[in-house]
Subunit: 644 residues, 2 copies
């Protein structure tokens, strides 16, 4: 007979939109599932976490343990990339419910033989469900014992309770109605330092650079401690309506054009610009990067120059204006006549979508596993959900970074439907309170389960206002913030480490943008911050606390110009405290609060704080600490607490 006890399973975590989208974790992490599980009255509930890789049919089980009032948890490991499913089963244990009451009676010496009979009957019932030899032997021992006291001690034994708790009570057994998914991503999805550069600017002796020249630059980038080197589009560049310097409408014959105007007579999204070399040169570069410990990321922008082969081969993939001409991109009053958007709504949708998917697969085949996707928010969600699922089903190690600087709801949704990482508003968040607020949203709201931020102080498109004509210290501040607040961060160099700060007048863009011309960078120009970059990247590699994002905790500070935050890696005991002077021009003093006991440090003895940038050691007591930061010396402390 089915019991009328209803076991309720509620508030399950992690869970994105009721299970419509998967939560994200990194391979090697433990997924902790928790849920409110309860029934009426004093009924003792027990349960299992059921989990499996999506490709396997049968569930593995882990007994749930109580972690708070009606709050249960179970853990499972995600040892390999891919999708995992989980659900929960729970029941009211008749025996354990009886045991709670009997144990109380026994304590007050008010237990009776008649009460014991009920307990034995409940055990017999369990043993009918599942013949558990040890439990059977224990029950027989209860029966064989001479006195009520002896019987009671045996039936109340904790080992017996533990064994009985593992057998579901079929009358009340329920399974949660949802099978929730968790996607396990490879380590690089969770942590990486990115360096973006234009290979065409890697040339020597004033000549345009090619892939072969870029190989030398890779050695330098690897030496600075980066993990990912990322190129703007490397495809042939359109000639029709090509843009000149500073985005001018007229290009001279020497102007190389914008790499985002993709395609010419040499090919489109699966070709490389002949000026950069041949495909073979590219794959050689990918291999060379690999040997240096670098991964190559490509920028994929689904749009075409008027000279792209698709314009000729698939005229139906583009929207037409009423006069029959192809609709170019516009953002009134600006016209981008060098760029044709694709019509994702074309009658030949299947053909177009397959071709776009094949662009990713083509580059995967050439050894690329990381894609930065240009403006995904202007293409249909349905396309991305399908395309990313298709690519990652075959290649679960592929990472997609969404270059979407748009409204919050859209950015969140792109993450939900499959983008591994996302650009963020960090680029424009400079004050202490707005940084706290934004990071709290990213790391403490439901977003933490699916939105994986990648922090960029600059990009080829963006020289933010606070870096306009800014001093060297301002660049260090943004570097430290990006590299320590978020485990994924990147810079567009060499403009960044050379502290290039001259804007196009009135715009948040670079003057003489590299997007439209060849650059010759003086890599060692005075005032560069290469040594700081190198040191910060080394600190990130040596400190596991900085290789995660969701472990961020802000600390109190009595001076709003001093932002303090802490990251802890429980496994290794690594604890990092960062204190950043947000004011690049003035020394700031104040008290910040670091609670040693939270970091597992003694709260009754002095402890060490080792500045990982300068090597200075401080001895601190208790919670509140005086800090004075002269930005001209170094605008931040990155302190290893405990001095490791």
């Amino acid at each position: 007979m089915k019991s009328v006890s209803r076991v309720v399973i509620e508030r399950v975590s992690p869970l994105v939109d009721g299970g419509r989208f998967p939560a994200r974790r990194i391979v090697g992490e433990t997924v902790t599932v928790s849920a409110d599980i309860f029934t009426e009255g004093q009924g003792e509930v027990r349960g299992y976490l059921l989990y499996r890789p999506e490709t396997r049919k049968s569930w593995s089980r882990a007994a749930l343990s109580l972690e708070g009032k009606d709050r249960w948890r179970g853990d499972f490991a995600v040892p390999a990339t891919g999708r995992y499913l989980y659900t929960i089963e729970a029941w009211v244990s008749g025996f354990l419910t009886w045991r709670t009451g009997y144990e109380k009676k026994f304590r007050y010496n008010s237990n009776e033989r008649i009460d014991l009979e009920s307990g034995k009957a409940l055990l017999e019932e369990l043993l009918e469900n599942r013949p558990a030899a040890r439990l059977r032997r224990r029950l027989e021992a209860v029966k064989a014992a001479a006195t009520l006291r002896e019987k009671s001690l045996l039936i109340l034994d904790e080992g017996l309770a533990h064994e009985a708790a593992l057998i579901p009570d079929r009358r009340s057994l329920v399974r949660w109605e949802t099978e929730a998914a968790v996607v396990a991503l490879r380590e690089r999805a969770g942590c990486g330092a990115w360096y973006e550069f234009f290979p065409r600017s890697a040339g020597a002796d004033g000549k345009p650079g090619a892939f072969r020249d870029a190989e030398k630059k890779l050695i330098d980038i690897a030496g600075l401690g980066f993990d990912v080197v990322y190129f703007p589009p490397i495809h042939p560049i359109g000639r029709t309506n090509r843009k000149g310097r500073n985005n001018s409408i007229r290009a001279s014959s020497a102007d190389p054009g914008s790499p985002w105007a993709i395609g010419n007579e040499s090919g489109g999204h699966t070709a490389v610009d002949p000026a950069l070399g041949a495909i073979g040169d590219f794959t050689a570069l990918v291999r060379a990067a690999g040997k240096l410990g670098l991964e190559v990321a490509l920028d994929i922008a689904f749009q075409c120059s008027p000279d792209h082969p698709w314009v000729r081969e698939h005229p139906d993939w583009f929207k037409r204006r009423p006069d029959g001409s192809v609709q170019y991109a516009e953002n009134p009053p600006k016209k981008y006549e060098d760029i044709y958007p694709l019509d994702f709504n074309t009658a030949d949708r299947k053909g177009l979508w397959e071709e776009l998917k094949n662009v990713f697969l083509f580059w995967v085949d050439k050894g690329v596993r990381i894609f930065r996707v240009d403006n995904p928010h202007t293409k249909p969600f349905d396309f991305w959900e399908w395309c990313l699922r298709e690519v990652t089903a075959a290649h679960p190690d592929v990472i997609f970074l969404a270059e979407a600087f748009t409204r919050p709801a859209v950015m969140r949704y792109l993450a939900k439907i499959g983008f591994t990482q996302s650009y963020t508003y960090f680029t424009w968040r400079t004050g202490a309170s707005e940084i706290r607020e934004y990071l709290t949203e990213l790391t403490r709201s439901g977003m933490r389960d699916y939105f994986n931020p990648n922090f960029w102080p600059n990009t080829p498109d963006i020289l933010p206002l606070h870096l306009h004509n800014a001093p060297r210290q301002a660049f260090i501040i943004r570097l430290v913030l990006a590299a320590t607040l978020s485990a994924n961060y990147g810079i567009y160099g060499p403009a960044f480490e050379l502290c290039v700060s001259t804007p196009l007048p009135g715009r948040e863009e670079y003057l003489d943008s590299e997007k439209f011309e060849y650059k010759r960078w003086e890599d060692r120009a005075p005032g560069n911050i290469r040594e700081v970059v190198r040191r910060i990247n080394r600190i990130r590699r040596e400190h596991p606390a900085l290789r995660r994002t969701m472990n961020l905790e802000f600390c109190e500070s009595d001076n709003d110009a001093l932002l303090a935050y802490c990251k802890t890696d429980r496994e290794s005991g690594d604890v990092i405290l960062c204190v950043v002077n947000l004011n690049p021009r003035v020394t700031e003093n104040g008290f910040i609060r670091f609670q040693p006991e939270k970091a597992g440090l003694p709260d009754d003895r002095p402890y060490q704080a080792l500045d990982l940038i300068t090597g200075d050691r401080y001895v601190w007591h208790n919670d509140w600490h005086y800090v004075s930061i002269d930005p001209f010396v170094m605008p931040a402390h990155i302190l290893s607490m405990g001095g490791k």
Copy 2:
């Protein structure tokens, strides 16, 4: 052809557990539905809120309006009690998306005739979907206009945009997958002052009281300004193992027994204790109460004394011990041998459940519309969900108050499955921070949509620690907090207004509890707080801001003993600020913050604060106000801001 633009509808509010349970509102309120609605790129979404009473087939529609970034809202009224359903439809408006771009171009004088053609075509398409005469005329006017400028002005007209926005674009039209429910409750469900008393203590001349005597007491209760008078169980009381004074195991022949030991030879849950009178006397009392503006609430406790007719007529409705005897209630080491719990899991479940439902219907038939349900958390959730749904389907005006003082998850769940109101932890929350925290949870978390609190400073079962041997002021403090923090509150009297404060030693219970004996209360005993009660209830009636709960906002205070909070009723402009000295023994001074502009008061001129308890008037400026409260005079201010 179906567009590939996916319109996403997310984060819909109000919504309880994804739509599994209804949200609650009070008749006459407006339900505001909001949702994130968006699509890729710059697509302009539009939508309708669809709503209907559950009993009607066809949807009514209200156009959604934008209230924030991608956040849309629509309203609907709930003019009568019962269930309403709502859902959302949304689409990408091709015409409005085109219009945004064209409007920009027009502003920059870069619009062309060819662009205009696209807009006209999109309007033609809309008119095919729905022949809208006015829109058709407008389109014809565009066509007839002479110049591009004139055509542009006409097609960009806001009135035209408004009309076009109302026609769904079928290619992208989506309906949210959920039909969410809202239950509209009658006004008393949202606001009421309750007075609990034992009619058997209403006797004159030292004799046990009956319903006829209670009629006199009702006049007094009505005079104190209460809305609901609520009786402990009024049924015949068991004789077997009857409890004596102070819950002693042996009762004398004069002891009346606990009203919760229900049933004897005179009947059970549908009978009245002959000592109280006949059923006719009870219905007369209900009518008399009605004339006084009072509603009668009954306590329904689904448990039986050993003498209850069901024990004889339905022996299978009770659990048996292994020796065949009926299982009595226990909480080891205590045995409640005067009470048999019902076995909701009986083979005759249908018979039992129907009978229990009929208990409610019996009393509904006698004119009762409010039930306080005893210990609902010890009975199956399935039973309650079924029973409450059945009763309210036939009688949507019936109110159920759940007497569950148990774990948070269980209390929330009882509210979700149908209990109109709930007892709360207010009874034990005394400090400023714990009151703030608890009320913030009740009024700012998802609970606000389904959990309707009823605040009780005391009950016949509970004399909380802070009222043990407490002074008169302590009772006033608890009264003011209960009556102003929550729109529903109640006291167990006359013990409360007489400031009875002597506990059973070592317990949070009354000494000489009325549960086990007749009481003769000296209603006018010196030190009573009847006048304060009367005044507070009058203030509640006169001030709509106090007749709602979810409008609570806490105010800053620089003294933790001074709790300040504000309630606003936007419709009437009523603004109430309460400042309570939580310390009954010491005058407390401090600054509290009231922001006049938030209450629609001038922030550049002085404004009045009228103390509704004392009649004193204060003139305040700006935000921060000095307050000094001597609890021996009056431990709280209830201020009408603006002085109305």
